[in-house]
Symmetry: C2
Amino acid sequence: MKQGFDQLDDEQAVEIFKALSNQTRVNIIQMLKDPVSNFSAQAHAIKDEGFEGGVCVSDIQSKTGISQSTTSQYLSILLQSGLVEMKRIGQWTYYRRNEKTIKQFEKYIGLNI
Amino acid sequence: MKQGFDQLDDEQAVEIFKALSNQTRVNIIQMLKDPVSNFSAQAHAIKDEGFEGGVCVSDIQSKTGISQSTTSQYLSILLQSGLVEMKRIGQWTYYRRNEKTIKQFEKYIGLNI
DNA sequence: TATAAATATCGCGAAATACCGATATGATAT
DNA sequence: ATATCATATCGGTATTTCGCGATATTTATA
């Protein structure tokens, strides 16, 4: 995803629409809105590492019910679209919502759809 | 599309995301925001018939540059999703935005994404 | 009735997406 | 070094989407 601008262009928006055109991926985005209540304490508590709210792939997988490989791929698609960001910490990869992009997306909808 | 409710559910939203996950279909929705400036006077002036802002398929086609059959299919997809509504008048089928659904969609994004 | 115009539908091959299991990679711990 | 997690990537099949030309349908008109 192109970064550093505060307005999405059509191409970026279409990529977000594609990312959200799958129920499982929408579920993931929704679950990540409230990691504390949707995941176990260990899964998301990474205050130390400066990535608060991040959830590791295996915990996301166990909630979605799809395979590990598909979960990983879906998270890549969400990452590509800019809807989430990730950070590798040790052997875990944590994903969390990218609220900045999500806000831009909301704005795009209001202005361009 | 299910009608008559004022909140979209996830399934309806995903259908809208699919409809918008194509640049040409996004273009169509955008063009229909301002029929007066985007289309010739004849194309959209149907005050008499109670379908103001409607634009006929062939005019939409000539703006998109895609084939007639694809244009017709894309309009069906947009119609299915609820983003547009249509009315057949004589030999023409007029399409226009369904602002009610679009508002519900905006609201869905704000609440559920 | 015959013709023409506008639109919808059908049937197609090509490309993309949905998911999966198997395997590779990278980090940690023994 | 090796065994073990966590995750990513690869290769596959099945399904869906893309976009087209050809054809069918509907309406208006001669």
